[in-house]
């Protein structure tokens, strides 16, 4: 199949065909990152930046534990949130995939409905649900299960996980669903026929063959989670803050663009490292081209 793709006009037109896409990427990805890189070596001065070549920002980044600790914590939150999201998304996708096509289309539609509303609004919706005067506490109080409102639901890492899971669930469901739809049901029948129990069918056939979708979803949710801004800002309180929350402060109120650039680059490097790590297990080609 790869051979077939490579033939035809592949070698006649590529420079021209790739031009718009390449131009877009250069302008909006390569240039901004290059700028960040350059600025991260400049020096911050009162009310602005001084063009200079210095490692002082990276020294600060590494010497002040806050940034590294925040980076580690963000990675950890993103990791657990991603795992939880996949664990919820997989059975959900399997359930959708098992429906007849018409019903499946309706369910996919339902999965996509949340995108109609701003995710800021959707994230806010958790506050009246989980807060001290929120629905859950109200119910618990009325049922007499607690005598005082519990403040364990909101403004902590639990809430951030919940918020991330909730907002990014569709990004995991869709690629997994795509993989499962491609899975030949006869393979599952064949496994059952050969003596595999439902659990063994899942472990030996269904999961391995839907790996491209699972890893695709993992990468998407992880990238979105590790750089999450709104969710920790609204739901995280002080203990749930993540790395992306400090970057705007450095560029804004902090007026320290060079340090902000250095922290941004740290986030980019960590994110790329993770994608590379996951990708090296299956190959990104399988995930995004064939998966």
């Amino acid at each position: 199949m790869a051979g077939k793709r490579a033939s035809s006009t592949a070698w006649v037109l590529p420079p021209l065909k790739l031009l718009p896409g390449t131009a877009f990427l250069v302008l909006f990805l390569v240039v901004p990152i290059a700028l960040l890189l350059v600025i991260s070596f400049w020096r911050s001065s009162f009310g602005g930046v001084k063009v200079d070549w210095t490692l002082v920002n990276y020294e600060r980044l590494l010497s002040r534990p806050i940034y590294l600790e925040l980076m580690i914590k963000s990675t950890r939150i993103a990791f657990t949130a991603t795992v939880l999201t996949i664990l919820v998304a997989f059975p959900f996708a399997w359930w959708i995939a098992s429906k007849p096509p018409r019903r499946r289309a309706q369910l996919v539609f339902l999965v996509l409905i949340p995108f109609w509303t701003s995710y800021v609004v959707r994230t806010f919706a958790w506050i009246p649900l989980l807060g001290n005067n929120g629905v859950i506490n109200y119910v618990l109080l009325r049922l007499g299960i607690v005598s005082e409102p519990l403040n364990i639901f909101l403004f902590n890492q639990f809430t951030v996980h919940l918020g991330l899971l909730y907002v990014y669930l569709p990004y995991a469901i869709l690629p997994i669903l795509l993989s499962l739809e491609r899975l030949d049901r006869n393979l599952v029948y064949a496994a059952a026929d050969l003596g595999a129990t439902p659990f063994q069918q899942l472990r030996r056939i269904i999961i391995p063959l839907s790996m491209p979708g699972i890893l695709g979803g993992t990468i998407l949710v992880f990238i979105l989670s590790i750089s999450a801004y709104v969710t920790p800002a609204l739901l995280g309180g002080t203990s749930g803050i993540m790395i992306a929350n400090v970057i705007p402060d450095l560029f804004g109120v902090g007026m320290n663009w060079p340090l902000g650039a250095a922290v941004s680059l740290l986030l980019i490097v960590v994110t790329i490292a993770w994608i590379w790590l996951i990708g090296s297990r299956v190959g990104l080609r399988r995930i995004f081209v064939e998966g």
């Binding site: 006869n186 029948y189 026929d193």
Partner: protein, 363 residues
């Protein structure tokens, strides 16, 4: 011979639409049974009910006298070869073959030995570490067969296993399957829409139509003594004539198939004057040429087309009144260059006993 599998009143319907209607039959221990029928006749549904993938709406399936209906597919001692093989693409040939044994907790040493043994039977020795995607269709077919056979099932179910192969490979695999069947001594139930394939391989053939079994008998009997017009038309090729029975020359009955066109009916049939009748004559029973014997049906017509088939040739002869008859010119006449040309007037005939007649059923 004892029955290994007893199917009793087995039925399946999807909503109001019946796929299989109260089918009952026995499968004999060690036999090669072919279930044939056109697509949608319920043969695959029947097979999948035996495998356990489809729950029947009614009836029972007994294996060695014990109902297996309550057993999920992974507990039934039957195995299936799937139409498109359903090989696990993420496993090697060896892993595919050993998968079932692994599920049945056979230890690693025995798994290897049995894998080697079964790959030898399907003539794929040394293919253990190959990826299934680099195999040809015929080889994948053999792996699928080996994967099911290695578990030594009581009954092996084959769902159109040769359907995706090209003609030459299919012919070879038919012979192979028969050899393997003899070698392993396992009961085979083979579903196919290809009646030629069934005739080539089966000990017995079950012909299905519209969710029912029209006939279940030895291959030879199904071919030579079809139980219904459907079977006569489906298994093998046949000329079909329809007409009304009239009496002629005293007690003799003939079939009037057109203006001035009558066919003598064999004496054995229980037909009466006035009946609508469907009669079938196999093309290979028809002799083109002057030979005339007392018990023969003789007709004359014009050759319209001749199709040369290599070892034989098929002549399409037009009769008065638009009826067309298909006749096989024998290998002998082909070698002697005696195939009639298109446009030639010919006399032809067949032994009247070769005519198979049924009272016409309203369809």
């Amino acid at each position: 011979m004892t029955a290994i599998l007893e199917i009793r009143g087995l039925a399946k319907s999807y909503g109001e639409i019946p796929a299989v209607r109260e089918v009952s039959f026995d499968v004999r221990r060690g036999e090669f049974l072919c279930i044939i029928g056109s697509s949608g006749c319920g043969k695959t549904t029947l097979l999948r009910m035996i495998a356990g993938f489809i729950d029947p709406s009614a009836g029972d399936i007994r294996l060695d006298g014990v109902s297996i209906l309550s057993q999920p597919p992974y507990r039934r001692p039957v195995n299936m070869v799937f139409q498109n093989y359903a090989l696990f693409p993420h496993m090697t040939v060896g892993q595919n073959v050993a998968f079932g044994m692994e599920m049945h907790k056979v230890d690693a040493g025995e798994r290897r030995a049995r894998t080697r043994e079964v790959l030898e039977i399907v003539e794929l020795s040394g293919f253990e570490d190959r990826s299934v995607s680099e195999l040809s269709g015929g080889q994948q077919q053999r792996v699928a067969l080996a994967r099911a056979l290695v578990l030594k099932p009581s009954v092996l179910l084959l769902d159109e296993p040769l359907g995706a192969l090209d003609q030459k490979v299919r012919r070879r695999m038919q012979v192979e399957l028969k050899r393997i069947h003899r070698e392993v001594g396992i009961t085979f139930i083979h579903v196919t829409h290809d009646q030629e394939e069934a005739l080539a391989m089966a000990d017995r053939i079950a012909v299905m139509a519209d969710g029912r079994i029209e006939q279940l008998a030895d291959s030879l009997e199904v071919y030579s003594k079809p139980a219904s017009p459907f079977v006569a038309g489906f298994v093998g090729e046949a000329n079909r004539f329809t007409g009304t029975v009239v009496s002629a020359e005293g007690s003799r009955l003939v079939l009037k198939i057109g203006e001035g066109l009558v066919l003598p009916l064999p004496a054995t049939t229980e037909l009466a004057a006035g009946m609508r009748v469907e009669a079938f004559v196999r093309p290979e029973h028809i002799r083109i040429g002057p030979a005339e014997l007392p018990e023969m049906t003789i007709l004359a017509g014009t050759v319209r087309d001749v199709v040369f088939l290599g070892e034989s040739a098929r002549c399409y002869i037009g009769l008065e009144g638009g009826v067309e008859v298909m006749a096989t010119a024998s290998a002998e006449s082909v070698t002697n260059g005696e195939i009639p040309c298109a446009g030639a007037r010919v006399r032809f005939g067949w032994k009247t006993a070769a005519t198979i007649a049924f009272p016409a059923v309203a369809r």
